[in-house]
């Protein structure tokens, strides 16, 4: 049976249908999770897609984290359910406390939309089922606030516990330690700034996102830690 992936939609989210399109091509069933809903039963994993939830006003993700659906996502994550935050979704996950650190404005003070080369640093998480550590991926970024910051102590922990999932080959935004994506300790919650759904067709210039999404769709047991 195909996996059911819930895709969260806040007002202002804009990558939900792109994410759904990419997942459906890979054979997943998808379900929109409206921000006002408290119930996310019957999904195998959750994606918080990119966009500008609540206009990104105040801070990216600051208002979204109070949406009713986020309570459900938190308990889903606590029970080990796979949760992926892409771009704005990553920002929401840090604001919600599901991932450490914060994302602030790019050092260049400009929005950046461009193709990036990423190193797959740790595969012991929900995205790693089809990859090898050290793989190089071409996946685009699209953000103003993608500059990951955290305390020294947290960074050390992330490094020691294998929670850095992706690093940029050439740091585009000033992120500490070139971080492009991280996971929680258990590996079932991942946040990444690059957009894997934008790298799923040869016509779009890269297919490197497929392996990542596929590990959610067909992925063996989600907690591959």
């Amino acid at each position: 049976m195909s996996k059911v992936i819930g895709v969260v939609r806040f007002p202002g989210t804009n990558c939900e249908f792109d994410t759904i399109d990419a997942l459906q091509i890979l054979g997943a069933e998808t379900k929109i999770l409206w921000h006002g809903d408290r119930d996310i039963a019957n999904v195998d994993s959750v994606i918080i897609p990119g966009g500008f939830a609540h206009g990104d006003y105040l801070r990216c993700g600051a208002i979204a984290r109070f949406s009713p659906v986020m309570d459900a996502v938190k308990s889903f994550a606590k029970d080990g359910g796979p949760v992926l935050g892409i771009c704005n979704g990553f920002q929401v996950l840090t604001e919600a406390g599901l991932l450490p650190g914060a994302l602030q404005k790019n050092v260049g003070m400009k929005f950046l939309c461009s193709m990036q080369t990423l190193e797959f640093v740790s595969t012991s998480n929900i995205l790693g089922a089809n990859a090898l550590q050290g793989d190089s991926l071409r996946i685009p970024i699209n953000h103003f606030e993608g500059n990951y910051v955290c305390e020294e102590r947290v960074l050390k922990e992330l490094e020691e516990r294998n929670q850095i999932v992706f690093r940029y080959a050439e740091n585009p935004n000033g992120s500490i330690a070139d971080i492009a994506g991280i996971s929680n300790l258990e590996g079932n919650v991942v946040g990444m700034m690059p957009h894997p759904e934008r790298a799923t067709s040869p016509l779009l210039g890269s297919t490197d996102g497929i392996a990542l999404l596929n590990s959610l769709v067909g992925g063996s047991a989600a907690q591959s830690v």
Binding site: P11, F52, F111, C113, N142, R198, S201, L203
Partner: protein, 743 residues
């Protein structure tokens, strides 16, 4: 009663002439009251009524079997098969951007998007042709940086990708930037709705942001026109509009949901002239009337006067015409999207637009709806070519100091600093994004998302230098350039939209430029079989009495019939023969209107190189089919900066050198003779290729071979590709990173 108003200063302050006042008097058969006068003044303004340009715009071709909606509606709509239609429109936001660049550009994007979803289409692409004063002027840099941030801030957040545009810097735009924005949307043909109010007793619902005192009348005079003694009251001064992309996003989703459920019979965005325009236009298009209840309008500020509510240009609002039994559902969907909605009017059979305080309350204004809209004056303003035209044309534009290397470096500029600030990939359609000749989007079914196996080509182009030298031929060449750009990504043209940016129409030379440009555009549109389906006219672009150089900007949309692979792009790779399609210019006139002549040689006049429109038509279709069939390895049309710049761009894109045979003097290197394309072919395929071109009756010859790491024109000094690349990259980054000031 006398036909003269009691106080002529009032209508004059509102920008209405005595004749126009008299015309209103005749239409009403009485004197208008203040509110009515305010409504006429905004609706009869140049911006809303096109009173100076209408007479000329009629000469543009507007029909073709695939045109579903032509000019006159909020956006043009064309049928692209498979039951899919495209809505497309371009608009200017020049003056607001000169005062508050970020918000001016942001609200420009917001406004054009509403024109698109008003038609029932989901906006899927924005393009932003931009023109600023010179980069060494700190205020022009302030405007440029603000405008680009505004397009980025609003467009990205509202969730529509900006997939291309232009960025031009020139003295002529100092103080008066041109911020044009094009948007395109996609819809299932049956969802097409028009901005019409019909069905007596249907209700008009105002959706979206609350109404404030933003840009009252868009005419600063309004608030101080004797409506209020207290002219200095700062609160009454028209204020700059601030865009709210988040409001627009929710409004967009709510409107599309209303349309999907078939809950509206007509819908219209609120732009210039606000509620006055939306109510009168919907009513008069639907042959109906409307009662408007001013007390029902959700407003942002206390104590707004009726004329303020009726003419405010607050952003992010729409007017939907709804049958009474659907109102509850409409309000429910609005609530779900946190969009405010108020029933503010009722369709009547009277043909009158009646403004009341309470639906059954006191009448504040009462005029025939169609008089605001259809009876606006139409002027045939005097036009005349500049008196010194012959002398201007006799100048030799090839004179000046020449240094091929540094000239080339000055002319190459990589715009990625601009477009990397724009989300250009959202919706997963962008096969060729900004940074190429044309943009190419996958065409997918708007209902199912399924690929059609076809693509949509888009390009926007303008060229004030060519149009200054010769507005008619220059405009023809601009259209041809746009068509050539989409040919380079495999698309053939279907339709054109245009934004006519000109100076003061009260100057006879400006009217002549406009008239010439229209004729030049018409000629090209006929030749390319691409009607004009929409546009916008922006006049009074002048600073201290100096008109800008005439700048018609066009957007061309076309079709790629079988999109299986990505087009080859402009990048050279090793072992290619470089073939030039098209003629070399006649050396005498070659440099007229070129960037080299303007910016390096210092001559803005002369003549344009000869241009063979029929040959350009053949070349464009030849190039499009080469790309579609994969019969070339690189392709790039020749535009600004001529062969020199085009070759350098191909080398930079491929990070490989090239040896060009000849073209080692500034005239052959930098002239901008139109209709030419460079094609990269495998060395062994060259003979076959030249034969193919010959049988298509297109001049073609091999002018170079790729390889190595330098670019070399004939006997000129070779230039390392790497240093050209660095120079191109640095232009904008260095200039705009230097700081800006707003005064």
């Amino acid at each position: 009663m006398s036909t003269a108003p009691q106080d002529s200063s009032v209508h004059r302050a509102l920008g209405l002439s005595d004749d126009e006042y008299h015309q209103i008097y005749k239409l009403l058969e009485r004197h208008p009251n203040h509110l009515e006068l305010a409504m006429y003044s905004v609706m009869w303004s140049e911006h809303c009524s096109y009173k100076s340009s209408k007479i000329h715009l009629k000469r543009l071709p507007t029909e073709a079997p695939w045109v579903l909606v032509g000019p006159g509606e909020n956006a043009g709509v064309i049928d692209v098969g498979d039951n899919i239609a495209l809505a497309i429109r371009i608009e200017s936001h020049n003056h607001p951007s000169a005062i508050e660049p970020y918000q001016g550009a942001a609200t420009g994007v917001g406004g054009i998007l509403r024109d698109i979803f008003t038609m029932g289409a989901r906006p899927i692409a924005v393009m932003d042709p931009l023109r600023f004063g010179p980069l060494d002027d700190p205020r022009s840099r302030w405007i440029a940086e603000g405008v680009i941030s505004g397009v980025s801030g609003y467009g990205n957040s509202v969730g529509v990708p900006t997939v291309g545009g232009e960025v031009v810097f020139d003295e002529t735009y100092k103080g008066n930037p041109l911020v044009n924005v094009l948007a395109m949307g996609i819809l299932p043909v049956e969802r097409l709705v028009l901005g019409q109010a019909s069905g007596v007793d249907n209700l008009a619902i105002l959706l979206g942001a609350s109404t404030g005192r933003d840009g009252i009348g868009g005419v600063s005079v309004l608030a101080s026109a004797g409506f209020d003694e207290n002219v200095d009251d700062a609160d009454k001064r028209p204020s700059v509009q601030v865009g709210d992309p988040y409001e627009e996003k929710r409004l967009l989703e709510a409107c599309l949901e209303l349309l999907d459920e078939g809950l509206v019979t007509g819908i219209q965005d609120l732009g210039g002239a606000g509620i006055t325009c939306a109510t009168s236009e919907t009513a008069s298009r639907g042959g109906a009337g409307m009662d408007v209840d001013i007390s029902a309008i959700h407003s942002r500020e206390e104590g707004m006067e009726p004329f303020e509510l009726m003419t405010s240009e607050s952003q992010e609002r729409m007017l939907a015409i709804v049958e009474p039994h659907n109102v509850d559902r409409v309000l429910e969907i609005s609530r779900q999207w946190e969009v405010q909605a108020s029933v503010i009017g009722r369709v009547t059979g009277t043909g009158q637009l009646t403004i009341r305080n309470g639906l059954e309350g006191e009448t504040l204004a009462n005029v025939r709806a169609s008089t605001l809209h259809d009876d606006a004056p139409e002027y045939n303003r005097p036009l005349a070519p500049p008196p010194n035209l012959a002398e201007r044309r006799s100048q030799d534009a090839s004179q000046g100091p020449v240094d091929l290397q540094s000239d080339l470096i000055r002319l190459i500029c990589d715009p990625s600093w601009v477009y990397s600030q724009y989300d250009h990939q959202l919706f997963l359609n962008t096969v060729v994004g900004p940074g190429a000749d044309g943009t190419l989007l996958r065409l997918r079914d708007p209902k199912t998302g399924r690929e059609t196996g076809r693509g949509i080509g888009l390009s926007t182009d303008g060229n004030h230098r060519w149009c200054h030298v010769d507005p008619r031929l220059g405009t023809t060449m601009v259209v041809a350039e746009a068509v050539m750009n989409i040919a380079c990504v495999g698309a053939t043209p279907l339709a054109v939209v245009n934004c006519l940016n000109f100076g003061n129409p009260e100057h006879s030379e400006v009217m002549w430029q406009l008239s010439e440009a229209v004729d030049g555009m018409a000629a090209a549109c006929v030749a390319f079989d691409s009607p004009v389906v929409g546009g916008n006219v922006s006049l009074y672009n002048e600073t201290n009495g100096h008109d800008i150089a005439p700048t018609p900007v066009v957007g061309v949309v076309g079709m790629h019939p079988n999109l299986k692979n990505r087009p080859p792009g402009m990048a050279l790779s090793s072992g290619m023969a470089l073939v030039l399609l098209g003629n070399d210019a006649d050396l005498d006139t070659a440099m007229g209107g070129s960037r080299w002549a303007w910016e390096i040689g210092g001559c803005k006049d002369g003549r344009l190189p000869e241009f063979d429109l029929d040959q350009a038509v053949r070349t464009a279709s030849f190039v499009a089919s080469l790309v579609q069939e994969g019969h070339c390895r690189a392709v790039h049309d020749i535009g600004e900066g001529g062969i020199g710049v085009a070759v350098a761009e191909m080398a930079i894109a491929g990070r490989i050198g090239i040896r060009v045979f000849g073209y080692d003097d500034h005239v052959s290197m930098f002239n901008e003779s139109g209709g030419r394309v460079l094609v990269g072919i495998g060395l062994s395929e060259i003979d076959e290729f030249l034969e193919k071109a010959e049988s298509a009756r297109i001049p073609a010859r091999k002018i170079g071979e790729s390889g190595g790491s330098v670019v070399q024109f004939g006997e000129a000094e070779p230039m390392p590709v790497a240093s050209l690349e660095t120079a191109a990259r640095r232009q904008l980054r260095d200039a705009l990173g230097r700081g800006t000031v707003n005064s």
